[in-house]
């Protein structure tokens, strides 16, 4: 076997290993089951019952400007969709409990707000940017993912996706 062939094999192996290392990240993607919220170390609020419901999990922080902009939209969505079986859980990644509390007090959102104080859940999910929201079907599977918040466009998309998920009905 020639040196050139050996070199090509080594390079191929290295590239494969690099790709594998990159793929080992635990980023939650579409089609994955979302980690259990109940099992995560969340505090600062009460987790609503999410069993059999369409769930929107939003990761936010008090220091994140687009997160602030998204709250009124989620409040509108909550108002329009809560009765249809949609639950919104806004998970704060604030390190300081006081920052989280002040934000919630100021905005008083109509949906559930909790704090991932140890940042274990957000690390597990490996959120790509702030904010990111995950739309889960009734079975707890991630069906849609919104990276960032882009105002009315994002709200419109989420509403369409919610309509679609609600139309699917209950899974057997």
């Amino acid at each position: 076997m020639s040196s050139r062939t050996n070199l090509l094999r080594v390079l191929g192996f290295a590239l494969a290993a690099a790709a594998l290392a990159g793929g080992l990240r635990a980023e939650v993607k579409r089609g994955d089951h979302f980690p259990s919220l109940a099992a995560a170390d969340l505090n600062g609020g009460t987790l609503p019952d999410t069993a059999g419901k369409v769930v929107l999990v939003d990761f936010w922080a008090s220091w994140c400007a687009p997160c602030k902009a998204s709250f009124p939209a989620y409040a509108r969505i909550q108002t329009d969709y809560a009765a249809k079986g949609v639950v919104i859980v806004a998970v704060s990644v604030d390190e300081k409990a006081a920052d989280f509390a002040a934000f919630v007090r100021k905005w008083s959102p109509p949906f559930a707000t909790v704090r991932d104080q140890s940042q274990k859940l957000v690390s597990l999910v490996d959120v790509p940017t702030m904010p990111t929201s995950y739309l889960l079907d009734r079975g707890g599977k991630v069906r849609f993912l919104h990276v960032g918040y882009y105002g009315a466009e994002t709200e419109k998309t989420i509403r369409a996706e919610l309509d679609g998920l609600l139309a699917e009905g209950h899974s057997p």
């Binding site: 050996n6 192996f13 290295a14 690099a18 922080a61 220091w63 940042q119 959120v127 940017t129 702030m130």
Partner: protein, 76 residues
């Protein structure tokens, strides 16, 4: 020769794996509270900005590079 290529392979795997690791080079999005703080903004203090501009002007004989009037010719 085999030993050499084996060593080269291990080295390549180690290096490429390290390069692919996200933990080495990136501050995670949820860890950017300090970076997002107002005090991290370079334009947080208008007076400080004006003084810096003055120093640059006096030292470099140039002005206008930060969006104010003037073409950098020093003729203002």
């Amino acid at each position: 020769m085999k030993l050499f290529f084996g060593f080269l392979g291990l080295l390549a795997v180690g290096l490429s794996g390290g390069c692919a690791s996200q933990d080495l080079v990136r501050v995670k999005p949820w860890q950017r509270a300090t970076l997002a703080d107002y005090t991290m903004r370079p334009d947080r203090d208008p007076l400080d900005g004006t003084l810096s501009e003055h120093v640059y002007f006096a030292r470099e004989a140039a002005s206008g590079g930060k969006g104010v009037g003037g073409s950098g010719c020093g003729c203002n």
